[in-house]
């Protein structure tokens, strides 16, 4: 069981926790945090595939992809938080009621 | 199959362009609209006549345009197609004149005349279509273009009638769509007349082809108002008279009947249809509809409703004629296509005249109408005798051939059906004639909705008289060369020589 397999397994677990959190939790902020966790899981998966053995150099491409991925995740998380904040200001709602 | 001439397209366009242009006109431009309309009507009649003589000289008019790799839009002028095209174009001309008189101060006339022309484009398209898919395209286009006409009055029950109308026609259209696609898949693109394609495949896919036949038949049956699918016809009587005259006597109803004729003669071929005893099923349904329609008509006090139910039963004569194998019965069926159209349109015109001039919609109010509106009721009486099958009116000719065909084919029960239905026709039409001519009206002086010297407006009177005389002439001069009967006989003979 090489080191990277542990990482990839944790990344899968993180992904599943994130996905579960988005669907199951009620509060907006909880859902947004869950998406960030899911993102973290995915990026960990990328990184875990970058270096399989201690000898060779780490594969730069996943690293670059992760950097880009993280920035995109940040942008969408920021937007989601702004949305949640605005909704709270306008209506005081903190979770999805099943209205229209 | 390649394009030999643009005539079929010209015939279609002659009513399509006025239709579209009128949509764009403003409501006040009455003169322009009427001239456009009439020009379109005359042009169409002229072109159909020219095509007819061309066809007599043996020329062929094909127009092929491939929509998709194996989806071709084909227009072809053959005897049967021309026959129906001539009917719809002539009657469209007459009904346009009638409609101009009928609606002269009504609202939304642009919308009415626009969709009126589109609807005739569709029905001529059905007549001229060369293959199954083009037929289907125009068949559905007919539904769409007739809906605004049915709901033209804009009252709540008109809209409700429109809803029922759509419920049936769209349902039927979907079933037809399924059938047409299935047929296409099993037998590839079929041009009308190529009955050998299915003849080859029948042994391979007997069940599929049978299912497809009955799917297409149901789809067509809706418009041909065969028994279980006829509900829309009486309810859409709420439409204005010219609509119920042209649509429910000629365009829509005949499209279904014409489709059945095409399906049995030009797609499956009579041999197969008989061998797989499709015709037996069709005969049973048609016969039941004839009786059912007449019985229901017996108990309608509303004038147009009674005419509607009579249409339901009359159109099934065509289906019955088709269902009996033999040249004579198919002649009867094909000629009844025209005769029924002419006679029924006279009746609807008459009903329209009475309703518009005196506001009488019920039969019980028709006492003494003969004296008040002699010409209208005279034409109506001729049409009534035609419907009952009393010579010399046109109806007799078709019933004569149907009867002979039935005897020749040895299905004697059909004669029984013809007799019972003639008796029923007499039972529900003659009382109207009796009231009109032999009864005294309740109150002497009745205010006229449309005052004027003549019994009703000229534009509404002339069409009634013309179609009345036509239905008489079609009977008396039946054997003359250009008459509907001679064409029909020629078509039928050609069918059976194949």
């Amino acid at each position: 069981m090489e080191i990277y397999q542990i990482y990839s397994m944790t990344s899968a677990v993180l992904f599943v926790i994130g996905m579960g959190g988005v669907f199951m939790s009620k509060h907006f902020i909880k859902k947004i945090i869950a998406t960030i966790i899911m993102g973290g899981g995915v990026f960990l998966a990328f990184v875990s595939f970058a270096q399989r053995d201690a000898l060779s150099f780490a594969d730069p491409v996943p690293h670059a992809l992760v950097i880009t991925g993280i920035v995109v995740a940040v942008a969408s998380a920021a937007f989601a938080l702004a949305l949640a904040r605005r909704i709270f200001q306008l209506t005081g709602e903190e979770s999805f009621t099943n209205d229209k | 199959m390649e394009t030999t001439s643009f005539l079929p397209v010209l015939i279609l366009i002659s009513s399509l362009i006025p239709g579209v242009l009128i949509l764009l006109l403003r409501e006040e431009q009455v003169a322009l609209r009427t001239s456009l309309n009439l020009f379109g009507a005359f042009a169409k009649v002229a072109m159909v006549a020219w095509a007819f003589f061309g066809y007599m000289r043996g020329e062929t008019y094909d127009f092929i345009f491939s929509l998709a790799p194996d989806l071709t839009f084909a227009l072809r002028l053959d005897a049967l197609g021309l026959f129906f095209a001539a009917l719809s174009s002539v009657l469209w001309l007459i009904t346009t004149v009638y409609a101009i008189g009928y609606l002269d101060k009504g609202p939304h006339q642009n919308r009415f005349f626009a969709f009126f022309s589109l609807c005739v484009t569709a029905s001529t398209g059905i007549a001229l279509s060369g293959n199954v898919i083009t037929f289907f395209i125009f068949y559905e286009f007919l539904t769409l273009s007739t809906y605004p006409l049915v709901v033209h009055k804009g009252t709540d029950d008109a809209v409700a009638a429109g809803r029922t109308y759509l419920w049936y026609t769209i349902g039927g259209g979907t079933v037809l769509f399924l059938g047409v696609v299935g047929l296409y898949v099993v037998a590839g693109p079929i041009y009308f007349g190529q009955t050998e394609i299915i003849a080859g495949l029948i042994s391979e896919f007997p069940t599929q082809l049978s299912i497809l036949f009955f799917l297409i038949l149901t789809g067509l049956g809706v418009k041909a108002a065969i028994f279980p699918l006829h509900g829309w016809l009486p309810t859409s009587m709420v439409a204005p008279a010219p609509v119920s005259a042209l649509l429910h006597a000629v365009a829509v109803v005949k499209a279904g009947a014409f489709g059945i004729v095409r399906l049995v003669y030009d797609v499956y071929g009579v041999g197969i249809a008989e061998e797989m005893n499709y015709l037996a099923v069709l005969a049973v349904f048609a016969a039941f509809t004839i009786i059912y329609g007449s019985v229901r008509a017996l108990y309608q006090d509303d004038f147009k409703k009674r005419l509607a139910f009579s249409t339901v039963s009359q159109v099934s004569y065509i289906a019955l004629g088709v269902a009996i194998p033999g040249a004579l019965s198919s002649t009867g069926a094909i000629v009844h296509l025209v005769h029924q159209g002419i006679m029924k349109i006279t009746m609807f015109f008459a009903a329209g005249n009475v309703a518009e001039t005196y506001g009488y919609k019920k039969i019980s109010q028709l006492n003494g109408m003969g004296r008040r509106m002699p010409l209208t009721m005279g034409a109506f009486t001729i049409a009534v005798f035609g419907m009952i099958g009393v010579p010399p009116a046109a109806g007799f000719i078709s019933k004569w051939y149907l009867g002979l065909g039935a005897v020749e084919a040895g299905s004697y029960w059909v004669i029984l059906v013809l007799l019972v239905s003639s008796a029923l026709n007499a039972a529900y039409f003659l009382p109207i004639v009796y009231r009109a001519w032999f009864c005294e009206p309740e109150q002497e002086e009745v205010p006229r909705l449309r005052p004027g010297r003549l019994e009703t407006q000229a534009l509404m009177l002339i069409p009634v008289v013309v179609t009345g005389l036509l239905s008489l002439a079609a009977g008396v001069f039946a054997a003359v060369a250009g008459s509907p009967l001679s064409i029909a006989r020629e078509i039928a003979e050609k069918l059976y020589l194949l």
Partner: protein, 511 residues
């Protein structure tokens, strides 16, 4: 791969809208709108030029940065992409013209939502990028660009309902992208390349590939509002402004479908099974029935149109079972592939035009009446003829009655269904179109019905109605060039292709 002609168009197609977006930021609202419109029209013209070039040269590529894949990113514009880009251009241009007049007519307090234009240009750039990109990760980035700009557009109106449905849409979009990305990670982990073409050859069946296929398909299904995951679409599309909901419904959801189609057909051929196709087909079928029934039940106009989108997307999903061949059937012998592909292309095209026209007309009605309850439609025919005609024509195309584009789509779909012997899809298609006829003619019934009030409709700028009508008519006009379009599409190798599922275990590669 490398022998295909290169051309600058793919790069320009993404660059130009972004450039115009950036420029428009520097101006006052009036300037933003004007520059935005210019940007849209320029991009549309550029797209048409690119389309023409593809018709001449065939598939065109553009190696970004001059590097060969797998290291560099490749932009590829084959016939299918060209058609999608052309569609986006036409529909986008007309919607932009509509939006220009629409925001002008809005009340001045919000002075016309200036941010609409930069966001829409970014969205357009994202869409073009998505149709062109040949790299898995790049697809993720374009998906995100589209996702964020779409949600931003959706919440522009600022109403509470719009914000909540916007957040729901955003969260769904993020979840979808992340699960898609997770698939990309797995693919990269097992093959080391991200280029679609190379993946097609290199990828072999195995647990990782199957897992990746699973996760990516689900991610894209969420973004595309496939059946179980359609929950976010109706509120989002019905709460936003008219031009925005037209964009969302007509174009945005098509992007995710495009990627799903490409992935299944080009990349995951090895591990797909006939049964999987059937499942997607079932999801599509349920979407068709469920969406149409819900639309039939709604009483507000925009919600009807939104639910109708869910249904029409169901039709797109129903094409998949036809494209995955039962075991033992070779792609060459299957003659139903070309009709199936034509069906999907025509369904996309006709739905785009018809749905855009429908939403724009709904916008006009809401502008004229103030609310969108369908009662407001009464006597529409009497007062606003062109809008009524637009709704009529668009409706006819959605139902699939001839001679509309929708009819061509349904005809080819049914033909494919019958040819392939999977007859059980036919009743679903027909019930779907019957229900569609139900709610379309419900609207028309009201349009013809009489109304008590004197002046039910405030005056509305004529040009809006013209654009809505133009869109509806073009959903009919696309039928005319059908023959040439299909020949042109034959050019791209993915069009008309099918997946032969030889008897092999999907997930475990145990053949």
């Amino acid at each position: 791969m490398t022998d295909l002609p290169t051309s600058p168009y793919p790069a320009l197609l993404v660059g130009l809208p972004v450039m115009m977006a950036i420029l428009s930021l520097f101006f006052r609202p009036r300037g933003k709108a004007f520059l935005g419109l210019i940007g849209c029209l320029l991009t549309a013209v550029l797209a048409i030029f690119a389309f023409v070039e593809v018709t001449q040269l065939g598939t065109v590529i553009h190696r970004l940065g001059g590097w060969e894949p797998p290291l560099g990113i490749l932009l590829r514009m084959d016939a299918l992409a060209a058609v999608f880009i052309g569609m986006t251009a036409l529909v986008g241009a007309l919607i932009s013209l509509y939006a220009w007049r629409y925001f002008d007519a809005q009340d001045t307090s919000t002075d016309g939502f200036p941010l609409f234009w930069p966001l829409w240009l970014f969205l357009w750039a994202g869409l073009n990028g998505l149709f062109l990109s040949n790299d898995l990760f790049n697809l993720f980035v374009t998906l995100e660009v589209i996702g964020i700009s779409a949600v931003a557009l959706a919440v522009l109106s600022g109403k509470a309902g719009a914000l909540v449905s916007g957040l729901r849409y955003l969260l769904a979009a993020i979840t979808g992208s992340m699960s898609y990305l997770f698939g990309v990670a797995l693919i990269y982990g097992s093959t080391g390349t991200l280029d679609l073409e190379m993946l097609g050859q290199v990828l072999e069946a195995g647990p990782a590939t199957t897992f990746a296929l699973l996760v990516m398909t689900l991610g894209l299904m969420i973004k595309m509002a496939g059946f179980p995951f359609h929950f976010w679409l109706p509120p989002a599309h019905s709460n936003s402004l008219a031009p925005v909901s037209a964009l969302l419904s007509a174009l945005v959801v098509k992007g995710a479908f495009y990627i799903l189609l490409r992935l299944w057909m080009e990349v995951f051929g090895v591990s797909l099974t006939y049964a999987a196709g059937q499942l997607i087909g079932v999801a599509g079928a349920i979407a068709v029935i469920w969406g149409s029934w819900q639309a039939f039940m709604q009483t507000s106009l925009k919600l009807i149109v939104a639910h109708s989108s869910v249904a029409q997307l169901g039709y797109l999903l129903m094409v998949f079972p036809l494209l995955i061949l039962p075991s033992g059937v070779s792609a060459a012998s299957a003659d139903w592939l070309s009709p199936a592909w034509t069906a999907s292309v025509y369904q996309v095209l006709s739905h785009a035009f018809a749905k855009a026209s429908f939403f724009l007309s709904a916008g006009i009605i809401v502008m004229a009446v103030g609310h969108d309850r369908i009662e407001s439609l009464r006597d529409l025919v009497g007062h606003m003829r062109m809008t009524a005609l637009a709704i009529g024509l668009a409706g006819v195309s959605l139902i699939g009655l001839p001679p509309s584009g929708g009819f061509m789509g349904k005809w080819m779909l049914l033909k494919g269904i019958f040819l392939s012997g999977q007859w059980w899809w036919a009743p679903v298609v027909l019930v779907g179109s019957l229900l569609t006829a139900g709610y379309i003619f419900m609207l028309l019934r009201l349009a013809f019905a009489p109304t008590g009030e004197k002046e039910p409709f405030q005056p509305v700028p004529k040009r809006l109605e013209v654009f809505a009508l133009l869109l509806a008519v073009s959903s009919f006009l696309i039928v005319l060039p059908a023959d040439y379009l299909i020949q042109f599409l034959e050019g791209s190798e993915v069009f008309g292709s099918g997946i032969e599922t030889v008897l092999k275990g999907g997930a475990y590669g145990n053949n």
